[in-house]
Symmetry: C2
Subunit: 162 residues, 2 copies
Amino acid sequence: MNENLVRARDNFIEGIGHLSTTVGLSRVTGQLYATLFFSNSPLCLDDIVERLKISKGSASVNIRTLERWGLVRKVWVKGSRKDFYEAEVNFEKIINGELAVQVRRKLGRTLDTLTETENLIKEIPEDLNQEDKKTVEFYQKRLRKMKEIYKLAEGFLESILS
Amino acid sequence: MNENLVRARDNFIEGIGHLSTTVGLSRVTGQLYATLFFSNSPLCLDDIVERLKISKGSASVNIRTLERWGLVRKVWVKGSRKDFYEAEVNFEKIINGELAVQVRRKLGRTLDTLTETENLIKEIPEDLNQEDKKTVEFYQKRLRKMKEIYKLAEGFLESILS
């Protein structure tokens, strides 16, 4: 391949790698997605290892992350026994698919944590000293605050996801 | 402090630490924010080191990250020469402050990358072989696709941030 094309490709891959750290994915995960996004045929793990100069273990872990988020899918390549992958490029499909499931799961877990913390506080015996009593009140106030924030975040996300 | 209160607090801190990995912050960054969010007085680095059992270096790096994102602010505590910190709890202030600046900056950099990649491709001499010509066309198609995704993401973010 023409070296200017390789440079263009590497530039793109580096940029997406940088961006991915903003959305909770590692740099390598972003680079791997960009590699597949910028490839006109499916790639196997060995191709990815060669292009990104990463270990096979890292390639494999990051491919699984991308699969779990619905950003990459396994494809069958005639005549090969290796697993091949291609990038999902339909953005609407991505945000309405596994990505939505994962984000909702993470949010659900956060709500569980808040409820758990509330319950732990409710179970505290009444015979507390003055300072601890004040702390209980403060914690309850903060939990209400975090629930407000949670609801705002949930509202935003649902408006994006639906 | 009552041990049930400590348990409730630690449960909260752990939950937020888990959540933070979804939004591009490390677990420790989230735990540190939660520690300040769940504290009724400002804390200094030594307090944080003790509560989270992390190194002073890690506490310092993570505090700076949180400050940069407008999630934490330095406060002056009478009679102490140490730096003290408290959590910003006003969610609207957070998303309209430094967070918005940082997100817009990251998005801007992504657009720069896309433009750079486009320019690199434009500079490629015309005398390419058939395969490379096809690759150029494919790369241009993909860049257009990424720009569409970029514009969608930008639209969503602006609707949240404004």
